[in-house]
Symmetry: C2
Subunit: 341 residues, 2 copies
């Protein structure tokens, strides 16, 4: 009975629906975005216009047309797709994990840099410098299986709240960028994250927050070891950094993971400069964009002097080469996905 119903449905599809869809595809692109309805959290302005014009150009028949299979778009994560202040969210995860794991590590009460975290001693923590914080990263990111790490990150994203907004960290994704990801995918772009963050960290929430599946998340990585144990095989995260997906590492990782040059790249800091250069240097039309943090009121305002997300050389090069620099304050009508329109 059901089989016969299915069969007749299949026949209907073959005879009526598929030809119609093929005809529609032949007529041009399926997406029904009008220039007015696309990217609703982007105000009319140079960045929104540049994005719409770029996507129109490479998806419309003509000399700059690019086939869907070659429509690759890459995005940095921290400061580009979600906020990164007052500290990178992954560092905040590490600090929170030290507190969570402390009962099992009594020696941390007297041992730096752990003691500074447990005492909430910002001054002592800052004194450690970036290198001094490595034991914290190692203790919270490695020595466990990839599965256990994923569970810990998942549990943190559920419970942790941002100190300024009181929102889950994943709710501090930028609404305009989420719209841009969706818009590109509606135009048959394949969207990737290419970020200095830990790949296994971002994969926990990338699908839900950005609509990006695990295999399209490119990040930094620790050396991982395959071990056969009595109860089965395990992938163990070791404290040795395997790859730092930052600066010149970004185009290298793009080649290694994606295997072709992006059509569009978006970043927000000097760590994205080489990714933008590599993208922009491709033949035909390319798009290189920077999110410029200019909104001290609704987000943060920082660029050349900041220790987090420093934007200096890339800002100069963007101005010089005519890349798109998004002025967050004047060009975004909404910042975070948790805000209502």
């Amino acid at each position: 009975m059901i089989a016969r119903f299915r069969q007749s449905l299949r026949r209907a599809v073959r005879h009526a629906v598929l030809p119609l869809l093929l005809l529609l595809a032949a007529c041009g692109s399926m997406p029904s975005d009008t220039p007015e309805s696309a990217l609703p959290s982007w105000k009319d302005g140079p960045s929104r216009s540049a994005i719409l014009e770029f996507v129109r150009t490479v998806t419309t028949t003509g000399p700059d047309y690019v086939a869907p299979a070659d429509r690759v778009a890459v995005f940095d994560n921290d400061g580009t797709l979600w906020a990164e202040q007052p500290v990178y969210f992954q560092l905040q995860f590490a600090l929170d994990e030290v507190r969570t794991l402390a009962p099992a590590h009594p020696q941390w009460r007297t041992q730096q840099p752990f003691r500074a975290v447990l005492d909430n001693d910002q001054a002592a923590l800052l004194k450690q410098g970036e290198k001094g914080l490595l034991p914290i990263v190692a203790a919270t990111h490695t020595g466990i299986s990839v599965e256990e790490f994923g569970q810990r990150v998942a549990s943190w994203t559920e419970s942790a709240r941002h100190p300024r907004t009181g929102q889950p960290y994943t709710a501090m994704a930028y609404a305009p960028m989420r719209e841009l990801l969706d818009y590109l995918r509606r135009h048959e772009f394949k969207t990737f994250i290419v970020s200095g963050g830990d790949g296994d960290f971002m994969r926990v929430f990338a699908q839900k927050v950005y609509g990006i599946p695990p295999e399209q998340v490119v990040g930094s990585s620790f050396v991982t070891q395959y071990e056969m144990r009595a109860d089965g095989p395990v992938l163990l995260r070791t404290p040795k950094l395997e790859f730092n997906d930052d600066g010149p590492g970004k185009p290298v990782a793009i080649n290694r993971y994606i295997g072709r040059r992006p059509l569009l790249a978006f970043g927000n800091s000097d760590g994205d400069l080489q990714m933008l250069q590599w993208t922009a240097a491709g033949s035909g039309k390319r798009f290189a964009g920077l999110v410029h943090h200019t909104d001290a009121q609704r987000e943060w305002a920082y660029d050349r002097q900041s220790h987090i997300g420093r934007l200096d050389k890339a800002l100069d090069e963007a101005r010089q080469r005519g890349w798109t620099v998004v002025d967050m304050k004047t060009e975004w009508s909404r910042i975070y996905v948790f805000e209502t329109q």
Copy 2:
């Protein structure tokens, strides 16, 4: 006029086609393969039955159903998707390249191992051993940009012919495995190559030969450097091996590139053992398969004693754990894609 036509088409789609498609999706899977028509180059037998049964189980509503987003299938390349005798095809590329590049390297006429290649001196070449061949790999795979390497591989796949069949190497892909890739994709699996071969080598032909896009090719890699030159940025391939995607490296690479455990894995040698273990150890139904080279007449017959594609431990473990072992001689009605049905 066209705009109005498009608009009415869109309305038709919204009101008639989409609901029908949604209904159809709700009814079950779209693919119209019948058990009789699926995998035409596979004879009726235990392997074909195991594949059909596995795919039916994980794609049909029930306790073992897996959502399309989690349907990941991974395949070794050499000896699994295409032949690997009398030498790995990538090694043949390297040997051919030495001859192509020799005019620019007069010192190779007297320098081993290059001299042995130019003199076609198999005995001297074999005496070098695997390590002795490394200068050949370095000279033909590195010191050039990723673009130039891709062009060289493309040109070789166009011109080179296999010594036994006289066919281009890419025509020596296995027809039954190509059908399996297509069959899995029709059932909404995402198919990946996970191979010891160089990723940038396989990417040149993976789309055309296997229908697998560059970003779904996971392979071994050399350290690549980003350099800004006067005429723009370049990614330079250096002779330092970055990652050997073989043995325990395969589950490590699967985690690093794909970020989740496959539902199905296919290999043909001991280098695939850990990938099969890792896949089979996942929760729910999983599929682990080996191509067993048993056909001395139409292909080659080799396993435990072979230096190329040695299959020994993995064969024992497959028998013990009930993995699928494909008997090429009795289970494949056709071997290569160049053979007519």
